[in-house]
Amino acid sequence: MTLLLLCALIALGLVAGGFGALAGVGGGFLIVPTLILFFHLPVHEAIGISLVAVIATSTATSAVQVERGVTDVRLGFVLELTTTTGAIIASLLAAYLSKRMLAGLFVAFLAFTLISMLKKAWTSRAEKEPSQEVPEYRIKNYPAGMGAALLAGGLSGLLGIGGGLIKVPVMMLFMGIPTRVATATSNFMIGVTAATSAWIWYSRGFVNLGIAGPLVAGVMVGSHFGAQNARRVKSRYIVLLLIVAAGYLMVQMLVKLKSGQI
């Protein structure tokens, strides 16, 4: 491996991990297309490596969040029953799907990510400083949460993403969980879900160690500092930046798909 490649991978990890943690989203949606488009990795390898990066993000951020007491560990375990089940089914299935099929699904997921972030940027317009106190809450509608968790786990195992964008809104809207608790609990779960998938992808030979190593190092540093400073930085500008990045990657992926390069 060249020094240039090493630096590029560390930089990708720092950016995806750092901005992801600052904005409260995972970096998976940036890592997979970047590895495909700019590092010319096969689709399956990009997803396998991204799963390891997702574990790194979750490990680095949830140590901070569990300690602050915003994570609902018990709720996390209940939902993990279905995220891990979805992850196993999807990971076992993924090896039999073509790279074009996975790339197409990923483009659809990028579109969903884009819409979710646009909504987030729009609603956070008028928002003042996020409150430091977490309100009392009573958990309701476990079936809705477990259903969403199954879907999130499945998408995670199939596309190498965290799945927080599916779990967090459902926890907030259907289960009555405050935003900060939902985000922290989702982060906590993502590591276990991604690890379940990663073991399967790794054993199929889809985790290139030389690429994963430097990327993971960057992700861990980036998301650690991102999580520590998340409350000090205005997340709105970061979300806008991520919207531009996701839009660009989506268009590039579409171009490659159409021209038959994937």
């Binding site: 140590a63 300690e67 007491g69």
Partner: protein, 103 residues
Amino acid sequence: MGRGAHKSSERNQTTDHMLAVGLRAGGVAAFVLVVAGSVLEVLHLQFARLVLQVGILALMSTPVLRVALSVFAFWREHDYKYMVIAAAVLTIVLLGAILRVAV
């Protein structure tokens, strides 16, 4: 434990603390190995791949270890309902690796 904690009973604190320590230890070990492996790789030194492999496997094991740790933590708190739930999650995670061999 931060002041914003919504449930600051003592039993939650012990579990949270154990989990945080477990996460941190696994994370730090993986990080050190992955950095060392990457440096060795660039210098084209021996054992680079092995160090990277151990680092990545340590990272992939950290969440699994954390679930196992939680089973123990819930048992110690006599919270048997959640002990069973955590044990079920651990079983599913391990099942994935076993099913992979079969399918």
